[in-house]
């Protein structure tokens, strides 16, 4: 047993550290009863931000990664949690749908990244993909959650 309890940091501390490290980033603090604080970042800043959360604040819990075809690119939302939600929000342009993987920092991210790779066609650099995850073995290679994918079969 390495440790019994993990240190819990105050949200304000994390918020201040993130603001200091990423001055260009845009913060969206929600006042809804259930919600995360969103932190809008450039794609290349996601990995440093995750590293900061892990190294400085010991936040490993990545609830999931949401991939969303927003119309002007594919949005990736990394939902972290430690008594409160912190979501790292980034937009990948269609011309360059690539982002480094987080699986070497958080092995638990593998399923989420594989799902997005399959459903939205985002390449996670360095991610091991042993075959398809949800789609059939003989799938035609299109991305079902993209806006331009054929809707007829979904109805």
């Amino acid at each position: 047993m390495s440790r019994l309890l993990t240190q819990i940091y105050l949200f304000e501390e994390i918020f201040a550290a993130l603001q200091e490290a990423f001055p260009d980033a845009e913060f969206v603090v929600e006042d809804k009863p259930v919600d995360d604080t969103f932190l809008k970042l450039a794609p290349e800043k996601v990995r440093p931000a995750a590293e900061l959360l892990i190294e400085k604040f010991d936040i490993y819990h990545l609830s999931t990664i949401t991939g969303d075809d927003a119309g002007d690119g594919v949005r990736l939302l990394y939902h972290f949690w430690s008594s409160y939600g912190i979501t790292l929000d980034t937009l990948l342009p269609y011309a360059n749908l690539r982002i480094p993987t987080l699986t070497d920092l958080i092995p638990g991210a593998a399923f989420y990244e594989r799902e997005i790779q399959e459903m939205l066609g985002v390449t996670f650099e360095g991610l091991a993909t042993p075959g398809p995850m949800f789609l059939p073995d003989d799938w035609d290679g299109s991305f079902p959650l993209r806006r331009d994918s054929d809707k007829r079969e979904a109805k």
Binding site: M1, S2, R3, L4, L5, T6, E30, K32, P33, V34, D35, D36, F38, Y60, H61, L62, S63, T64, T66, G67, D68, D69, L77, H79, W81, S83, Y84, G85, T87, I106, P107, G108, A109, A110, F111, Y112, P130, G131, P132, M133, F134, L135, P136, P144, L145, K151, A154, K155
Partner: protein, 360 residues
């Protein structure tokens, strides 16, 4: 020694739902394992973009066949936040009552499956007999044994009379006595321990790196429960303990789940005795203002998370669902490493697999 490969699934008596494993054995021991998901992928996330918010309540009820209520709760909670709706306290209490009943139902069902897999059929019979009490309560409340269709956006569609409440309180007393018996067997019975102790061990470090949630995480010492750590009403007003164990094996998972079941019975009783008066729901608009929300809740298997984005129409622009089983599945290759072939069934059922949830 020569190696052999044993396929388990997609159709196998051990698994209640389709999931494929390929185990490489050296003698009696598993040295490598590979997993394939997707046999019950229904494209629910994509389908939800074609349905209205109201229709989606019924769609998300069908993500899982066991914890159907918690999925609609998480979804409705998110949509209500987007609408800025305040659900009446009575509605929230009834919602939580169903959540706790569902937790008891899920854990008793799981105990039966686990006992069956280790060959302890007596416990299987008793656990599933006692589960009938919960199913009866839920049927009386909602009309459905498994799919309750209780949640609507803005509250719940059911209500409770004082007489009905007293009947449920009586049923809960019976249930508690039965659960105490089951807990005693799990804790003290030698044959049960022989099959579950030191099997499928996960350390706290592994749990944290794999982002594991729910009873599997709590059996390895990760003290995390969203009902307590990020409470949504009425959990902020209820008193309960979160059982945590540190062994990290299949036995600890059984203990955590059984202790949680006892806590859930206490919670149900608290909810029923402190049930506030008033309406159970408020009217909700059909169109949802633009915005996005992240909604989390503690399902029987751990954290459920819904991300909902609205573009101002009556259909959601994107709904992302992450079920607890998907996170817990990722630990299976580590758990299966170097165990005997005979223990594979204990490990597989130990994480409480719900494949339809994971595939969506």
């Amino acid at each position: 020694m020569s190696k052999i490969t044993v396929p388990i699934g997609p159709q196998h008596p051990l698994l209640k739902e389709p999931l494929a494993f390929s185990l490489t054995l050296e003698g009696e021991h598993v040295i490598e394992s590979a997993m394939r998901l997707g046999y019950v992928h229904r494209g629910i996330e994509r389908l939800s973009q074609e349905r209205t918010y109201v229709q989606n309540v019924h769609l998300f009820e069908r993500v899982c066949g066991i914890c159907s209520h918690i999925h609609t709760t998480t979804y409705c909670q998110g949509v209500e936040a987007l609408l800025g709706l305040e659900v009446p306290p009575r509605g929230l209490y009834l919602r939580a009552l169903l959540c706790e009943l569902e937790r008891i139902h899920s854990h008793l069902l799981w105990l039966g499956v686990q006992a069956r897999n280790i060959g302890f059929d007596t416990i299987f019979m008793y656990a599933w007999r006692d589960r009938e009490i919960v199913l009866d309560i839920m049927e009386d409340l909602s009309g459905g044994r498994v799919s309750h269709a209780v949640n609507i956006i803005g509250g719940v569609r059911i209500d409770l009379t004082p007489e009905h409440r007293d009947v449920i309180l009586g049923q809960l007393d019976t249930l508690e006595t039965q659960i105490e018996t089951l807990l005693d067997v799990v804790e003290n019975e030698r044959s049960f321990q022989a099959r579950t102790r030191n099997i499928g061990c996960l350390s706290l470090e592994q749990i944290r790196r794999y982002c594991v949630v729910g009873p599997v995480a709590r059996a390895s010492g990760l003290d995390m429960d969203l009902r307590r750590d990020a409470p949504t009403p009425p959990y902020d007003r209820l008193k309960f303990r979160v059982p945590v164990r540190y062994e990290g094996d299949a036995w600890a998972r059984t203990m955590v789940r059984m202790l949680e079941t006892v806590e859930s019975v206490h919670l149900c009783r608290q909810i029923l005795t402190t049930l506030p008066d008033g309406p159970t729901s408020v009217r909700a608009k059909r169109r949802v203002p633009p915005g996005e929300v992240v909604s989390r809740a503690e399902a029987p298997r751990g954290e459920v998370i819904y991300y909902i984005r609205s573009d101002g129409s009556d259909k959601p622009a994107r709904v992302k669902v992450r079920t607890p089983t998907l996170t817990n599945l990722i630990t299976l290759p580590d758990q299966l490493q170097n165990i005997s072939m005979a223990d594979v069934s204990v490990v597989l059922s130990g994480v409480d697999l719900c494949i339809a949830c994971a595939d969506r």
